[in-house]
């Protein structure tokens, strides 16, 4: 058998008006973990779609050799028969079906068309054991967390006798703990001889598990590196991805921290669906003008719930506690009241909760602050155009026109539109929930710059992030949450991934850094 399980040669894929892939070459060795890195829009997902037959043979140029044979896949079914399985970023599971039903969906264990439930359940049990998931095969997929759902997807792939497993941003929605699990699992598969292609923006994961790395930029293969021989570092990968050296991943900044802008006192919130469960328990925190405060925590720690319950009681019930803004107690009973009080909340899921995707950039930017553009309820469209144009320049939104639909923009540009919308509403307190999720390195840097500019203008910024380096790199002070409580408060100087991780998994009451002055 040849050394390479997969070779893709001279792949060219054009969409009307754009060359998404231009002479891309990639060779994957038998049994290795091969990472595919590149900024958003570099062509990673397109390349994987060519490989798996989503784009059928004939719609692209170039050759695909799998196990030495030329392949001409017409659809996903054909590539799966060969043992190529792709797990997409957006999970393709059906929430109302059980784990077992999902795993064998389209591939049912049956006798003469009648499903053999005993075998289905038994085989599911075996597969779940393999991926290290201890759940009942009859549990509905909708009732388990994202991390576990990811494992179900992998079990599903294993059920198809996979030889080449492609994971597209598998850890994007996972917390550190689940990501860690997944990485371990990949290394386990490697020992069993399954080849993996990993697409990920999390470079620490890439450098940890990969054997080789191929970098794509603007639809071209830039280079393929071997981890062992070339001594690849994260910075080395980044410079390959962006085509320049990135010495600073976080912009330089000298914080000018002012008076207390917001105090949250004794904030207790009950769970939305389980009315007798506390989602947040006695949260106390302060936020100062000009300060960037991070909130770290594992998924399910209550970070988003905290942000949304403060922002107009958008989450939870039986909310008790005080909000004190600039020394005065305020009430945020509805979103519009919160906005009137100078709050802004950038949601973690910009497509689902942040943007009207079918509307253009202009209308999305003006949506919240539309009152400033109106006279007797009539919108001044000329002003609106000027405002949107101004925001496009300030935020450096890369688009041919402000009339472009936001659904057509890249993740980074979409996030800039959301930020622009909230900046236009002129808030004093910004809560940013995962502001750089799924955004490429270059755009991340721009978003960081914008966040720092906002703080420099005296606004108080609360940043929620699952990426510890980001929380540490950006924040002046960090609160750590676990299970609905604040378990630690760490100053910039004390912050390290290890300290944060310790508090994140800590279940007791508040632990403060030893030398930190409490307010």
């Amino acid at each position: 058998m040849s050394e390479y399980i997969l070779e893709m040669r001279g792949i060219v894929k054009t969409f009307p008006g754009v060359k998404a892939l231009d002479d891309v070459n990639i060779r994957v060795r038998q049994g290795e973990i091969h990472s595919l890195c590149g900024e958003n829009g570099a062509g990673k997902s397109t390349l994987m779609k060519v490989l798996s037959g989503v784009y059928p043979h004939g719609s692209y140029e170039g050759d695909i050799l799998f196990e030495g044979q030329t392949c001409e896949f017409k659809d996903i079914k054909q590539s799966e028969e060969k043992g190529i399985v792709i797990i997409h970023q957006e999970l393709a599971l059906i929430p109302y079906l059980s784990i077992a039903e999902n795993i064998f969906l389209g591939n049912e264990r049956s006798k003469k068309g009648v499903i053999d439930w005993n075998e289905t359940i038994m085989r599911t049990g075996e597969l779940l054991k393999k991926v290290g998931l201890s759940e009942n095969p009859n549990t509905l997929v909708g009732n388990i967390g994202v991390g576990k759902q990811q494992l179900v997807e992998i079990a599903k792939a294993l059920s198809k006798k996979v030889k080449l497993l492609i994971l597209d941003e598998p850890t994007a929605a996972l917390n550190e703990h689940d990501s860690e699990n997944l990485m371990r699992l990949m290394l386990e598969f490697k020992r069993e001889g399954i080849t993996c292609i990993l697409i990920s923006h999390k470079l620490n994961e890439v450098t940890r598990v990969s054997d080789s790395i191929t970098i794509l930029r603007d639809g071209h293969t830039i280079e393929t590196m071997s981890m062992q021989e070339d001594g690849v570092t994260e910075d080395r990968i980044i410079s390959g991805m962006v085509g320049r050296d990135m010495t600073h991943r976080y912009p330089e900044r000298t914080p000018e921290i002012g008076e207390v802008a917001l105090e949250v006192r004794g904030w207790t919130v009950y769970h939305e669906h389980h009315p007798d469960r506390k989602a947040l328990d006695d949260i106390n925190l302060t936020l100062r003008h000009g300060e960037i405060v991070g909130i770290a925590g594992l998924m399910g720690a209550g970070r988003t719930e905290l942000a949304m319950s403060i922002f107009g009681k958008s989450y939870g019930r039986n909310i008790s506690g005080q909000l004190v803004k600039d020394g005065k107690e305020i009430r945020n009973d509805s979103v519009s009241q919160a906005i009137a009080n100078g709050f802004a909340y950038v949601t973690e899921d910009r497509k689902e909760y942040g943007l009207i995707l079918m509307d253009d950039i202009k209308r999305n930017i003006s949506l919240t602050g539309i009152g400033k553009l109106t006279k007797r309820a009539v919108v001044n469209e000329r002003e609106e155009v000027l405002v949107a144009e101004d925001m496009r320049k300030r935020m450096n939104i890369k688009t041919p026109s402000i009339l472009q639909k936001t659904g057509n923009l890249s993740g980074g540009n979409q996030q800039k539109v959301v930020l622009g919308k909230w900046i236009f509403s002129e808030p004093d307190i910004l809560i940013l929930d995962e502001p750089t999720r799924g955004i490429d390195v270059g755009a991340k840097y721009e978003i960081y710059t914008i966040i720092q500019q906002l703080a420099a203008q005296g606004k108080a910024v609360l940043v929620i992030s699952s990426e510890l380096p980001e929380v540490i790199g950006l924040s002046d002070r960090i609160y750590v949450m676990n299970a609905g409580r604040i378990t630690g408060e760490v100053s910039r100087e004390q912050a390290s991934q290890e300290t944060l991780m310790k508090y994140m998994t800590h279940t007791g009451g508040v632990k403060r850094g030893s030398d930190h002055q409490t307010v």
Binding site: V335, T347, I356, L357, R363, T374, A377, E381, V385
Partner: protein, 387 residues
């Protein structure tokens, strides 16, 4: 020529239905030997379709918010029945009865809006229930009988014409209205173009622009001339015209319009942007109730009677008009103008097929196919652009 094909390609979605309408009109003009575009028939077309067009205006708002209203036909019948009881049985003056009827429509809308917006019951279910409920109530209040005749002043809403200035064969008011409207239209277009140029937007070439103005000016004046050579401008056309302008303005230029589109485009994002989504949904249904009442009044006035079976299947025609006019069933997309064009497509089809003597059986079938093809064409276009 290249510019024209480009213009055409870019605007297929926008102009597609207008083109379809023109094609259908030409087809039936030929098939009926010119009968379709006779002045009397053009006037009839307006009178016959006015109540559906009024419903379509309200319906497109409901559809843009991502809901549907199946009850409008029953509501129209119920309000028509109420107005008949007030005017014919109780002898109330027409204006009081009209105001009371509109208020009843608003109340019905509020009732349905409450269930949809605040209790979160799917509009399909709430309005399906409303369809049965208000049909039932219509039969109850009418005791299964028709009520007629209405006072003269009331029936004038649907059968009257704007009075002529002088005693001329061709109606002067209609001609003048056509000219005045043409001038206003051209001035408005020129202003818009100047502004576009000022903001450095791409403007269509001068030649095409003039061509477009000329075509529209001819269409407007040909239309008013037709009306003038029969009996002038129907009262109902004035009402329709005002409604179309007012609702287009609201949807395009006001905060309420923005909120309706945003809500339909992404309800969660709209809510987190400070839009009071429940309130907006509620008022869209109240508005639908009022317009259903307007439609019911127009229909009762036209028939000069309130009947238990009035308004049957109106909801289907109104919904079809919106979808033919480019509205999306998923919400967020649609225009008042599109719904009107869609309503006219259905209207011309009905009228044309009746003129050539096709039975109601064939008419239904063909209308169904047209609805399906129109939406299929729309989706095909969208996919083609997305690819």
């Amino acid at each position: 020529m290249e510019a024209i094909t480009k213009l055409f390609k870019n605007n297929v979605r926008q102009y597609g239905m207008i083109i379809a309408l023109v094609v259908i009109m030409i087809l039936f003009t030929v098939l009926t030997g010119g009968l379709l575009v006779k002045p009397i028939n053009i006037t009839n077309l307006i009178l016959q379709n006015s109540y559906i067009l009024v419903l379509a205006i309200g319906m497109v708002l409901v559809i843009i918010t991502g809901h549907i209203d199946l009850s409008v036909g029953s509501v129209a019948a119920f309000v028509g029945a109420l107005s008949a009881i007030m005017m014919v049985d109780w002898g109330l003056p027409a204006w009081i009865a009209v105001i009371a009827s509109l208020a009843a429509g608003a109340l019905i809308g509020a009732w349905q809006g409450f269930w949809v917006a605040y209790v979160k019951i799917p509009a399909f279910i709430v309005t399906l229930a409303g369809m049965l409920l208000f049909r039932g109530l219509t039969m109850i209040v009418l005791e299964g009988q028709s009520i007629s005749p209405f006072p003269d002043g009331f029936t004038k809403i649907s059968s009257g014409f704007v009075p002529n200035l002088a005693d001329t064969a061709t109606n002067l008011v209609a001609i003048l209205a056509g000219v005045a409207f043409t001038v206003l239209y051209i001035l408005n277009e020129l202003r818009g173009r100047r502004e576009q140029a000022r903001y450095n937007f791409e403007v269509t070439s001068t030649g095409l622009f003039v061509l477009k103005l000329a075509v529209i000016a001819i269409v407007i004046n040909a239309f008013t001339f037709m009306l003038a050579s029969y009996a002038g401008i129907p009262n109902i056309l004035v009402l329709l015209f005002v409604l179309i302008l007012a609702y287009s303005f609201m949807m395009n230029k006001t905060v309420m319009g923005r909120h309706i589109y945003a809500l339909g485009g992404n309800e969660k994002a709209a809510g987190l942007s400070g839009i009071k989504t429940k309130k907006v949904t509620f008022w869209v249904f109240v508005n639908m109730g009022v317009l259903a009442a307007v439609s019911g009044l127009i229909f009762a006035a036209r028939l000069d009677a309130a009947t238990p079976r009035a308004g049957t299947n109106f909801e289907l025609d109104a919904i079809a008009a919106c979808f033919i006019g480019g509205a999306s069933a998923a919400g967020g997309i649609g225009t008042v103008f599109g719904a009107i064009i869609g309503g006219l497509v259905m209207g011309v089809l009905n009228n044309g097929m009746s003129l050539i003597g096709l039975g109601i059986d064939w008419q239904q079938g063909i209308k169904g196919l047209v609805l399906l093809l129109a939406v299929a064409f729309d989706i095909y276009n969208k996919n083609k652009r997305a690819a």
